[in-house]
Each structure stands twice: as structure tokens, then as C-alpha cells.
Symmetry: C2
Subunit: 217 residues, 2 copies
Amino acid sequence: MGELILTTFDWVPDGPRGYVRDLRVRWALEEAGLPYRVESTPFQDRPAGHFAHQPFGQAPWLTDGDLSIFESGAILLHLGELSEALMATDRRGRNEVKEWLFAALNSVEMASLPWSLLQFTGESQDTAVWKLFDGFLKTSRLSHLEPVLAEREWLAGAFSIADILMADVLRLVDRFDGLAAHPASKAYVTRAEARPAFVKAHADQMAHFAAADLLRG
Amino acid sequence: MGELILTTFDWVPDGPRGYVRDLRVRWALEEAGLPYRVESTPFQDRPAGHFAHQPFGQAPWLTDGDLSIFESGAILLHLGELSEALMATDRRGRNEVKEWLFAALNSVEMASLPWSLLQFTGESQDTAVWKLFDGFLKTSRLSHLEPVLAEREWLAGAFSIADILMADVLRLVDRFDGLAAHPASKAYVTRAEARPAFVKAHADQMAHFAAADLLRG
């Protein structure tokens, strides 16, 4: 392992604060107790060098020595390989972590992200489009996740990177009260957010952007 | 490695044929030349045992001996560990494959799936919702992917599981003519679909569902 450097935006508007995806990486690093430092890249007027690290111009990315990694899923999988606190080391346990890691991103967030976009834009809940995406999230996804989370504390036996991703995905649903009919999912988010590593990661992200406000005057 | 068994639906309607996600797994298995067999699970009246393998009631899943794996991303990553034809073995190469694998699913498909849903439902292109999701796909994603694909044959040096996922994601966009303004992306899909392993996987999926039509009479 080389020096770990997490790069995120220098500033973001108030809306996404507390939900920018560097949170997932900070959270994993804090859970593992791995040393790291944070660097900033401009949110506005993104330089060409940004796209060399993150082809879509998003944040974060992580460097580990000579390796530069983008996509929060890929970064967390990389960190999972570095720490038993983040991913089981036996074959079955690793498989469980990985399938739930992809499920968080590709089954649940695939449905929750468009739903959240409609919340942000204030789409009326009477439209066919609203009903389509609301059903995709709640009927096709949350209704199946709920009985799983009612039965277990964490997705893959012990707490893992799969929980960091799933809980962070569900946090954004909860922000718009989308978990009201899914109490086990809501309790899972509460349980995850109570972890000291989450609390520190969240506070650090908020402080990072607050410091940028001061610099902007 | 144990015996590899791919389980998919016994039947699906005409619409999704050629795009059901078992295609991704078939394609990877064919590229690697790994022996496997295909089993079926009911599309209608899904039994409880289905949810034990795939908590959201979707398909496919793969069993490898005593291991059962759901999520096409997790399955392809597992197969990538089994074959150099699917994933580089050096540290930098593996990292590139993994970040692009997640990018295909979490940056591109995250935007293309809601866009495709609106195509399926025939949403008018005059609405704010259409413009939101069309911009999310084309401005935020395809416009950044296009210069990458204009410069390289495959995403991570040699052909890999990242290309199977990215090409399959883009195929569904192309089905609705969404790549018209992105010729390098369109050429990439054409290049991927010309591979013998894709051709066989696609033909096998079509034959699988056609056989089910005969059984249904």
C-alpha cells in the first residue's frame, strides 16, 4: 500500500453537502483506521487533469501510491482488499460482500437515483413518470430489501463495504422520507449512521466544504 | 473452480429478448472458454427458492460449486478472477478493468436505464423530465465517454469484462438510436457485437427463449 490520498471537490453548493460521494471513501478509511489525507479539485472550471483521474468530471478519486482509482464502488472494493474491517477474507464471505456491494449500487441506487432526481425537481406525484419511478424503487427494490434487513444487522454477516454503500444509498431515500413504509430499512440507516466512523466522516465532509465557504468570503 | 451453472428465466416476453442480463454472463463464459450449463427458473410465479439466490427476484445468478452469486457485475468480477481472457493479472491492469466495470454500471447505466424506461413508456420529448434524463445520459455521460472510446479499442487495454458491461449498456441506448451523435461509442458497440463470443451468447439466449415458446404451445 502506498500513501492514500482522497481527492474531492474544493466546494459544493449546500444541497449535496453530507451526501457527496467522498463520504463513502472517508467512511471506509475511518472504519479501517487507514491513514490518508484529503486534497481538493475545483468544482467550477474543472481542469483537464481532473478528467485524467475521473473521465466524467466527478469526484472523488483515490490515489494509492502510483494507482489512481475512480468510481466509489471500485475505490471501496480496493480498500476492502486492504482491511479485514471492510471485507471478509474467506471465499464465501467475500462473495457475499461483493454481491451486496453491487446490489447496493446496481439494484437499489439504480432505482433510487432517478427517484431522487424527481424529488429534487419537484415532479408531481400524479404523473405516470412519478408512478413508474416510485414503483421501480419501492415495489421492485425496497419491498424485497426490507425482509432481508429485518433479519440481519448487516448485509454480509459482519459490517462491510457493502453496508457503507447500501446505507449511503438509503440515506438519500430517507432524506425525502422514502423509507416511511420500510421500518427495517430505516432502522438499518439509523444503525449505520450511529457508527463512529460515519459520524467522523460526515463531520469531516461538512467541515471541508464549510472551510471553502470561508475562503470564498 | 466448481461446476459453473448459469440460471436465467425460463421465458420472457419478446421485448427484452436479446437484452436479458444472462447475456453478459454467457458472453463472458464464451470469451473465457469456460465450460458451463444453463438452467431455468420460472418467469411467472417465482418460487421462494428464487429469492434465496436473487433477493430481488431477478435473473440471472451463477453457481460455482458451493458458491451462489447474484448481480451481473459481481458475477463478471468473479469470472474475471478465473480467466486472463477477461481481466488483466497485473495490479495496474486489474485496477483499470475494475474502475471501468463500475463506470459502465454506475456512471453510464445509472443514466441510461431511466432514459430507456422513458423510451419504453413513450414519454414525450417535450417534457422537463425527458430533458432531465436525456441530459443526464448524453451531456453528463456520453459526451465524456465519447473521447475515451475515440482513442482506444477497448476500455482497459485488452478486451475485458469492463467492455462486456459497457458495450451491453450502450447496446440498449443504441436500440433507441441514442448514440446517433456519438459515432465512436456506436463503433465500439459494433466492434463488441462482432466478437464471436457475443454472437454465440446472443444466439444462445434467443434460442433459449424460443424453445420456451414451443413448450408453451
